[in-house]
């Protein structure tokens, strides 16, 4: 038996891969649920109900999808240029704490219309800077950015932990390590009353479309794709490799930082070290499930958010740990990898 490269990749197959991958992942997690002695279909039904069963749960799912869209875009943009940014988690925290610092210390008194854009930009810039460090190490010292971005995640979270323990500590939080809250005028407007859903949803979706247009229509999009697919040929064709990667890193890190900013300004209002349940890492899964397509990121983020919110709901009524959601998400990444492989290769004999 051996694998043979497909001449053509049928479009239908490419569109079907994420669905096949998700079904495979659900089937595998089903086995784990069954091993736990629980009825599988009931569990999944409860997950669906938990995610979409009521107005509240649906808006929660959408709210949860917002940071996932942004971290998913961050990963998708970077991976397309073969920049392995695994540091979205750290960039998210740095973006978040920057927003808290800037709002509480500097611009808290500004009206919403001015303060919100300033804060969003600050959060994004902070994320950018954190990714430019490993990129610099790669360009200057040829250090693989996978490991450095991973390690910087820990540094970033410790840094945040230090700030919320010291200079940015909220004195009114009964001693809990929690940052000073952002100003009320810094909070993103809600989309619906009696829900936490905020306009971050539209920001994230609009950005996905913008990225799609950048990738398909602009010189930068063409050049960054070339840089990712074949750096040697890109250099030969005059693509400024370093500059392209810097731009890619700025967008990628910026989006991850923005995810943190939006999560603080839309949901929490302040920063703790529990702000993100791994949004940065899940973003990688989102990007892979979307096959690195920015529009696909929107749908993939919704799926992952539904898994997490749904599993929370499910575990309230059944004896299955919520970690089943993490397991399913990880499995969907692995099965997506296999599915992508089979869009490119076929088995022979």
């Amino acid at each position: 038996m051996r694998f043979e490269r497909r001449e053509r990749q049928p479009l239908l197959l490419i569109l079907a891969t994420p669905i096949i991958a998700v079904i495979a992942a659900l089937a595998l997690s089903g086995v784990l649920i069954a091993l736990a002695g629980a009825p599988v279909f009931e569990a999944y039904w409860n997950i669906v109900k938990g995610a979409f069963g009521s107005r509240l749960s649906t808006t929660e799912t959408l709210t949860r999808a917002i940071p996932l869209m942004l971290t998913g875009l961050a990963a998708a943009i970077a991976f397309r240029a073969k920049l392995w940014n695994i540091g979205a988690e750290g960039q998210l925290y740095i973006g978040a704490i920057t927003v808290s610092a800037v709002s509480s210390q500097l611009v808290g008194g500004f009206p919403s219309i001015i303060q919100i854009p300033i804060l969003l930009i600050c959060g994004a810039v902070a994320g950018m800077i954190l990714l430019l460090i490993p990129l610099w190490l790669r360009l200057r010292f040829s250090v693989d950015e996978v490991v450095t971005t991973l390690l910087l995640n820990f540094v970033a979270i410790l840094f945040v932990s230090m700030l919320i323990d010291t200079v940015l500590k909220d004195p009114l939080a009964f001693g809990w390590p929690q940052s000073l809250p952002v100003a009320d005028d810094a909070m993103l407007p809600r989309v619906l009353t009696r829900s936490r859903l905020h306009i971050g949803l539209f920001i994230a979706m609009a950005l996905a479309v913008v990225i799609y247009l950048i990738q398909t229509r602009t010189v930068f999009g063409l050049q960054s794709r070339a840089a990712g697919l074949n750096p040697e040929a890109a250099v030969f064709a005059g693509v400024p490799l370093g500059r392209t990667l810097v731009f890619v890193a700025m967008i990628s890190g910026g989006f991850a930082g923005l995810a943190g900013a939006v999560e603080v300004m839309g949901v929490q209002g302040y920063v703790t070290t529990e702000l993100s349940p791994g949004f940065g890492y899940s973003g990688i899964v989102v990007a892979m499930l979307a096959n690195l397509n920015p529009i696909g990121v929107i749908l993939a983020a919704l799926f992952i958010a539904a898994m997490f919110v749904g599993a929370d709901g499910m575990s309230r009524v059944m004896e299955i740990p919520t970690y089943i959601a993490d397991v399913t998400v990880a499995l969907s990444l692995l099965s997506m990898l296999v599915a992508i492989f089979f869009t490119q290769y076929r088995m022979r004999r």
Binding site: R217, V219, A233, F236, A237, G238
Partner: protein, 505 residues
């Protein structure tokens, strides 16, 4: 009748719809040298991979010393006494010579490598066949010729009785190649049997006892060397008479590129040393030499991807500073890179994107790519340069090598460049495509384009170039008119036999 050392009988192998080997039979006697002659794609390499157990044939069998060889098992092939010397060396640059040679020769579960006796055996073999290398040198530090010796030593170390060499001279200078063939003849005298694969008629005629010609996967002829000649072999190999385009006499115009005393430093190594060269409009300057002597750096310098550390360059009458790729393209310099797949195209991108990538400023406005103009340009190139099987929105990796090269030529020549840099433009192409590429280069020359042709293929250079310089160790020889050049003289040039003052002897 003596027993044949090797017998291949009725071997067929297909990949998809492509029949790479069609019922091939071949026998090799002890002490005999057999040449397998054929163009690229004739099925030589597939046959050798079957022989060595890398591929399982669909039909047919291989036997060694009268014993049937189990199929698809490289280890069994080694054990039976077959040694293979690949065209692309199968060596690990970070290991020593000795380590490269003995890997896999001792029981994998033994508790210690027997270095001492291994070293002795290696030294004995290199003495016996005159293949001298330092066993403890790091392989990556050796020259290409030395690496090839290691590759042969590896086979001999495994007690090979039958040695298979795939294009053994592709990477050697003429002089190294001559040494190599005398070593091979010596080996045959000592009782080894050899098969070597080649498409070079001269070396086949000079070395082999018997010649098999492969074409389109079939064995089309078998000749004793005394019974044949070069022109018959050429016809058998190609299956038709091939006319390479003839260079017309032209009168070169003004000097369009002049480089004097140019050096290039790359990662601390001086890859080009004080070179002087110039090209006139309507003239082809051929740069010959064994690869790895600075050709890549020279090409990069003119492509805008390497900077001078010293020296002056005048382009189209004006002194120029450091050039970037967009500068170079803007100035009207066309570039055909040495390595199509690594530098020339991006396989996963479409044909139109590949056509315009290096001309982005021309095909974009305000940072937006002009897709319609790009597709139109690609269509024009496809039409004008007869790129078969191409539509602008198809991914370029689906094209054959020849058609890919035509597209690369087209994207450069359609815009009438003033200077064309062509690095190994015909490498790896079949005869038909080679002729097409050469014809295009000559017609550009006729239109007044100055051409720099970097090539290892002396026939190609003789056919196209007006003047010839050799590159050796980063230095350029004085130029020699093509009329005065012959194989011997070029051989001398390529081995560095010239003095800067007196020119080539």
């Amino acid at each position: 009748m003596t027993e044949n050392a090797l017998e291949i009988s009725g071997v067929s192998k297909s990949f998809g719809d492509n029949l790479a080997n069609d019922n091939i039979s071949l026998a090799l006697a002890k002490g005999e040298i057999v040449a397998l002659l054929g163009e690229n794609g004739a099925g030589k390499t597939t046959l050798m991979n079957i022989l060595f157990g890398h591929y399982v044939p669909d039909e047919g069998s291989v036997s060694v010393m009268g014993k049937l060889l189990p199929q698809g098992k490289p280890r069994e092939a080694i054990r039976a006494g077959i040694g293979m010397v690949h065209q692309h060396f199968s060596l690990a640059p970070n290991l020593t010579v000795l380590e490269n040679v003995i890997t896999g020769t001792q029981g994998i579960w033994s508790l210690a490598t027997d270095i001492k006796s291994a070293r002795q055996k290696l030294l004995d073999i290199s003495q016996r066949f005159g293949l001298i290398v330092d066993p403890d040198a790091r392989l990556g530090d050796l020259s290409v010729g030395e690496q090839q010796r290691v590759e042969i030593l590896k086979a001999l170390y495994n007690d090979a009785q039958i040695l298979v060499l795939d294009e053994p001279t592709a990477v050697l200078t003429n002089i190294e190649a001559e040494q190599m063939f005398s070593t091979l003849k010596d080996m045959a005298k000592q009782g080894l049997s050899l098969i070597f694969i080649s498409h070079k008629l001269d070396e086949v005629m000079a070395t082999a006892d018997r010649i098999f010609v492969l074409r389109g996967g079939k064995s089309v002829a078998e000749r004793q060397v005394e019974q044949t000649n070069k022109s018959e072999l050429a016809e058998l190999m190609v299956g038709r008479e091939v006319k390479r385009p003839v260079r017309e006499v032209s009168t070169p115009g003004d000097v369009i590129l002049n480089a004097s005393d140019v050096s290039v430093l790359q990662s601390g190594v001086e890859r080009l040393k004080n070179v002087d060269f110039h090209v006139r409009a309507g003239e082809v300057l051929g740069i010959i030499g064994v690869s790895g002597n600075g050709q890549a750096t020279l090409a990069q310098l003119l492509s805008g991807t390497a900077k001078r550390s010293k020296g002056n360059m005048t382009l189209f009458g004006e002194e120029v500073g450091d050039l970037t790729v967009p500068d170079v393209v803007e100035l009207g310099i066309g570039r055909i890179p040495e390595d199509r797949n690594h530098e020339g195209v991006i396989g996963e991108m479409t044909i139109w994107e590949n056509a315009i990538l290096e001309r982005i400023p021309e095909f974009s406005k305000n940072g937006l790519v002009d897709r319609i103009a790009g597709i139109k340009f690609a269509d024009e190139v496809i039409d004008a340069f007869d790129v078969r099987g191409a539509t602008p929105t198809k991914r370029i990796r689906l094209l054959s090598g020849g058609n890919m090269q035509k597209l690369i030529l087209g994207r450069n020549l359609l815009k009438q460049p003033r200077l064309l840099l062509a690095a190994q433009p015909a490498r790896g192409l079949d005869e038909g495509a080679v002729a097409a590429v050469h014809e295009r280069i000559l017609s550009a020359r006729k239109d007044g384009t100055g051409v720099i042709l970097i090539s290892e293929d002396l026939d190609e250079v003789l056919a196209l170039a007006d003047r010839i310089q050799a590159i050796v160790g980063g230095r350029l020889s004085p130029s020699v008119s093509a009329e005065d050049a012959d194989a011997r003289k070029m051989g001398l040039m390529m081995s560095g036999e010239w003095s800067d003052r007196e020119g080539v002897a």
